[in-house]
């Protein structure tokens, strides 16, 4: 066979809800009403939390964070499709997903106010890894945890999230390769929000889709409308089912958009056009899903108002709790260098505390 095609591959696209909120009848997963309402609640909660955090940040009450507005569907869909025993190995823009996994907003606030206490989860919240800031790195942790699940014979999967920018890191490639060689139960969800800080997708990669990267590993890959929460739910459920059944990893590209700044330290007007942003506001995942619910008689303005009010109360309370927290022992870092005590560390702790008592500890 001198010169001929030996393999062919295809990339597919999935959208359940179109931009008007109309579901494709063949693809509509016909989720139970309860699940639909959970999705709605999760997305609204994420949106409202984000808005509040932005205000808190501007008021200097929390530090830098990366808003998730616009990406609620691409995160909440998969997070709700997960089983309780599954692992969540996220990046830093999955607030809605973390909330679904049970992270209290007080923790989120603590984290963004510079306290490790924000990563100490209350009882019952497990298998939720802390925010991972080094882009791409968490995808490898996901693969390792998935290996552990397979090794132990647990029917648990791992879902890991990353951004379009993160796909450029070597770790992402290594993770996909290990996952495919090991055939472990992990789902990679790339939130392709078109930007990595100021770098647009076309400067980040030359390929037409991120989903086609799966081909390099003979891994199932799929491009999904990331602003369609039902599409994301369906895609993730399918991938999780396959993984749980021993079918190995999946790569899902969620096509979505970062509607806000990269983080509160960023000024996107330096590098992108308002009309591009506006176009994506027109595809707001929350509006789309609300139309779907309304068309099915499950939602209306009043319910929306009630939900928003309830969520805001929750947030208010979390802000209060968070701001009431005072117990931040200054020497906590010395407790958690190692699991065992060592003279070197204890001696430094003593020096640290002595300096602190003299009021000489730290810089202004």
């Amino acid at each position: 066979m001198p010169r001929k095609e030996i393999e062919t591959f295809a990339v597919s696209w999935l959208q359940v809800l179109d931009e008007t909120g109309t579901a494709d009848p063949e693809l509509d997963p016909k989720l139970p009403q309860e699940t639909l309402l959970e999705l709605q609640r999760a997305m609204v909660r994420a949106r409202e939390s984000d808005a509040r955090m932005l205000r808190l940040q501007r008021q200097g009450r929390i530090g830098t964070f990366g808003p998730c507005t616009g990406q609620e569907a691409s995160v909440c869909g998969p997070a709700l499709a997960m089983a309780p025993q599954d692992w969540f190995a996220g990046s830093f823009r999955e607030l809605g997903g973390r909330q679904i996994r049970g992270e209290p907003l007080t923790n989120t606030f603590l984290f963004h106010n510079g306290f490790e206490e924000g990563n100490v989860q209350p009882a019952g919240v497990t298998r939720l890894l802390p925010v991972s800031i080094i882009v791409g790195a968490q995808t490898l942790h996901a693969v390792g945890a998935a290996y552990a699940m397979k090794y132990r014979g647990e029917k648990a999967c791992v879902v890991t999230f990353l951004g379009d920018g993160a796909t450029s890191e070597g770790d992402f490639h290594e993770a996909l390769n290990f996952a495919s060689v090991w055939q472990v139960p992990v789902v990679f969800i790339v939130q392709n929000n078109q930007w990595a800080i100021s770098i647009p997708r076309r400067k980040q990669m030359h390929c037409r889709t991120i989903a086609q990267r799966a081909i390099a590993y003979d891994m199932p890959g799929l491009q999904v409308d990331g602003n369609d929460v039902l599409g994301m739910y369906v895609a993730a459920r399918e991938a999780l089912d396959r993984a749980r059944g021993g079918g190995g990893p999946t790569l899902i590209e969620a096509v979505t958009y970062r509607l806000m700044m990269h983080t509160t330290a960023d000024d996107p007007s330096k590098y992108r056009q308002d009309d591009e942003v506006q176009q994506w506001w027109d595809r707001d995942p929350l509006v789309r899903f609300r139309k779907y619910l309304e068309a099915r008689g499950l939602w209306d303005a009043q319910r929306q108002a009630l939900l928003e009010a309830e969520v805001k109360r929750e947030i208010d309370q979390a802000v209060q709790e968070f701001e009431a927290r005072r117990d931040f022992p200054p020497d906590a870092p010395f407790d958690h260098v190692f699991g065992t005590r060592h003279a070197l560390i204890e001696e430094q702790r003593a020096q640290f505390l002595a300096d602190l008592r003299l009021g000489e500890g730290g810089h202004a």
Binding site: G63, G165, S168, I197, L358
Partner: protein, 326 residues
């Protein structure tokens, strides 16, 4: 002379070098349109175009690896790592290749390149955005490590780094980026790499620091000198590798007392090397143990506690006093 921040001063140096030499290429994450997340490369894209100011994909190893290839092929890349916390991803390319091509080929191939790395804490940033880890680079043979402490020397040193025939890791203390301004001449200024400077001479004690810790150290020195008669010599290392062992040794041989102020964790940090240099060159003149005022050997705390972990002028002052009184 205009008064510039360190950000503006480095920008000026880069701009003038790009003007002067079209082999100079700037590359990194967000260095183009955005002007860098700290704005150090602001305006360069507009002036020099996309082929010379490259917004790269998000991959630190590739940024340095590609810079190596450019340097081997005659260009003079200036790469930016967005934060020190992400720069370790390029350490394998630095250790394995950039630092070695000269030795490997006995001088036939060289890697003149600069890696700019904003580093250090005190800016209330997220995890990985606050570390000081100079040692990791200073310990690598074949790598020069430069740490400016103020706008004017930052500009003169970035120029030296760009013109240097070898790989230079240029650690920019981000706490000093905009903390103060200094007059920086328009005209070219170049400072030599590998040379420390005596910022103020003295006879009773040598205080040594570099980068962002120079300011609290200077403050401590000044406060102390208001309080009591003591003549303190203050040294700004400016380069950590190669280290200016002569200046350090001569100063402590003269004063007999020394305090080193370092931001990074204590163990295996730069202060240890300075103490070793003093041990080699001035032990007999030492009248007190060298004191190191450093970070602790703990995982860098999130920013809520960070301020307690970076030495304050008061802590430095006490170390100076104790060493004087020893």
């Amino acid at each position: 002379m205009p008064k510039l921040t360190m950000v503006q001063a480095i920008n000026l140096g880069l701009d003038q070098e790009m003007q002067r030499d079209d082999r100079v290429i700037v590359l990194g994450e967000d260095v183009g349109r955005d002007g860098g997340v700290f704005r150090v490369t602001e305006g360069l894209l507009a002036k020099y175009g996309e082929t010379r100011v490259i917004d790269t994909p998000l991959a630190e190893s590739a940024i340095l690896g590609a810079s190596i290839g450019m340097a081997l092929a005659g260009l003079r890349p200036v790469a930016e790592m967005q934060f020190c916390g992400f720069s370790y991803l390029m350490l394998p390319q630095l250790e394995g290749h950039a630092s070695r091509f000269r030795a490997r080929s006995q001088g036939q191939l060289t890697c003149p390149l600069v890696v700019r790395v904003p580093y250090g804490g005190g800016v209330r940033a997220l995890e990985h955005h606050s570390e000081a880890r100079e040692t990791l680079y200073a310990h690598l043979p074949g790598v020069k490590v430069v740490v400016p402490s103020a706008p004017r020397n930052a500009r003169a040193l970035i120029v030296a780094a760009v013109r240097d025939p070898d790989p230079v890791v240029f650690l920019e203390p981000k706490r000093s980026y905009r903390a103060f301004r200094e007059e920086v001449p328009e005209e070219e200024e170049v400072m030599p790499i590998g040379c420390a400077i005596v910022v103020r001479p003295g006879t009773d004690l040598t205080a040594i620091s570099w980068g962002a810790m120079m300011r609290p150290t200077l403050q401590a020195v000044e406060e102390l000198q208001k309080q009591r008669k003591a003549s303190i010599e203050l040294i700004d290392l400016l380069s950590l590798a190669p280290l200016d062992v002569e200046t350090i040794g001569a100063s402590v041989a003269k004063t007999g007392r020394c305090v080193v102020v370092q931001e990074s964790p204590r163990s295996f940090g730069p202060a240890a090397e300075l103490i070793a240099v003093i041990n080699d060159r001035a032990l007999l003149q030492l009248e007190a143990p060298v004191k190191r005022v450093t970070g602790y050997d703990v995982v860098t705390p999130y920013f809520g506690r960070e301020h307690q972990y970076i030495a304050s002028p008061a802590r430095i002052r006490r170390a100076l006093e104790e060493t004087l009184d020893f």
